[in-house]
Symmetry: C2
Subunit: 196 residues, 2 copies
């Protein structure tokens, strides 16, 4: 079993991805997939129980890739503050180099799929952020800070910048931008500065 099985599932994913990249999420339809893989409609349903199921696959795939990129970006850096900068840069690059992925992951103008948030793959991404933030906090003996809160703030800054950029500059822009560096610098300060 399952050689052809796996192969066909890959075919579906692969062809779907082509459609998405060339025509956007809106254009992705089961019928189009079916003809692309050279089979009839119901075959697709043998491998994905619904269209949402297929879309969720790409969302998970995106978080997997993002987590990998993030991990790689800090692998050879041992200063945890500098790691935060690298994470931010890596996050930004992911969003722009894998735009379509980012779109489903954070629901920016997608057909169906209501709540594809909070699966395991996303929690892994959180962990990468959290660990690094935790290190910076520990390093500066700022144990009064709430890591979860800071994680949320960090992620919000990143996503906010990316989303506004993606929404306004529809087509251009790529480099991590001054704003990003500035914002992250401020965030790091909020971790290292001691106050009341």
């Amino acid at each position: 079993m399952s050689n052809h099985h796996e192969n066909l599932k890959n075919q579906i994913v692969c062809q779907s991805w082509m459609i998405i990249q060339e025509e956007g999420w809106q254009a992705l339809s089961i019928r189009k997939i079916a003809t692309a893989i050279g089979y009839s409609l119901p075959v697709v349903y043998k491998y994905f129980s619904s269209k949402d199921d297929l879309i969720e696959h790409f969302s998970k795939e995106g978080f997997l890739k993002l987590t990998e990129d993030l991990k790689n970006s800090i692998a050879e850096e041992h200063d945890s503050k500098q790691q935060l900068n690298l994470l931010a840069e890596s996050y930004w690059n992911f969003a722009f180099n894998h735009r379509k992925h980012y779109e489903i992951m954070f629901g920016l103008g997608i057909p169906t799929c209501e709540k594809i948030n909070s699966h395991v793959e996303m929690q892994d991404t959180c962990l990468v952020f959290e660990n690094t933030i935790q290190q910076v906090i520990a390093q500066h003996q700022n144990t009064n800070l709430d890591v979860h809160l800071k994680l949320k703030t960090f992620w919000s800054i990143l996503h906010g910048l990316v989303a506004i950029e993606l929404l306004t500059n529809s087509e251009e822009s790529a480099s991590p931008s001054l704003i990003l560096k500035d914002a992250i610098e401020g965030f790091i300060l909020s971790l290292t500065n001691k106050k009341a």
Copy 2:
């Protein structure tokens, strides 16, 4: 002319809004609208050239309301730094009290409509932010700062926090949150602190 005309257009908007609030954006269909207003399909097209056109109406309506809320929030406050805090709080409240509006305005999981960004109503919202930021900068003689850049940062922080909140805490949460205050505080510092 146009008494009945205006009336029917209002009916369409009104009934559409009911559907959206009760069943979400996904459930909004021209047919459903038609039966809701007691007319047949093509009537809807007399008042809105397409579904996107109708959706865009709500997007504009949202930005109008947001701009109004923002302006009101700072009307009786003369300290421009404090105004920024009020703007942030007001923005947050708008996003949570007018969730469905916020969803289309920033494309969080919507059916059709590719690029409903950058219409005039949105630029008005920008202006409110920009004016206040400009004031803070002037007040601290930090004229080397780029207002547009700071505007983008401010908006990004706000949207980022809101979006992450809306995506994760699907149903709960309402109060402007500690993170928001913290983040805005940091932003204000970046406006008032002088450096290289």
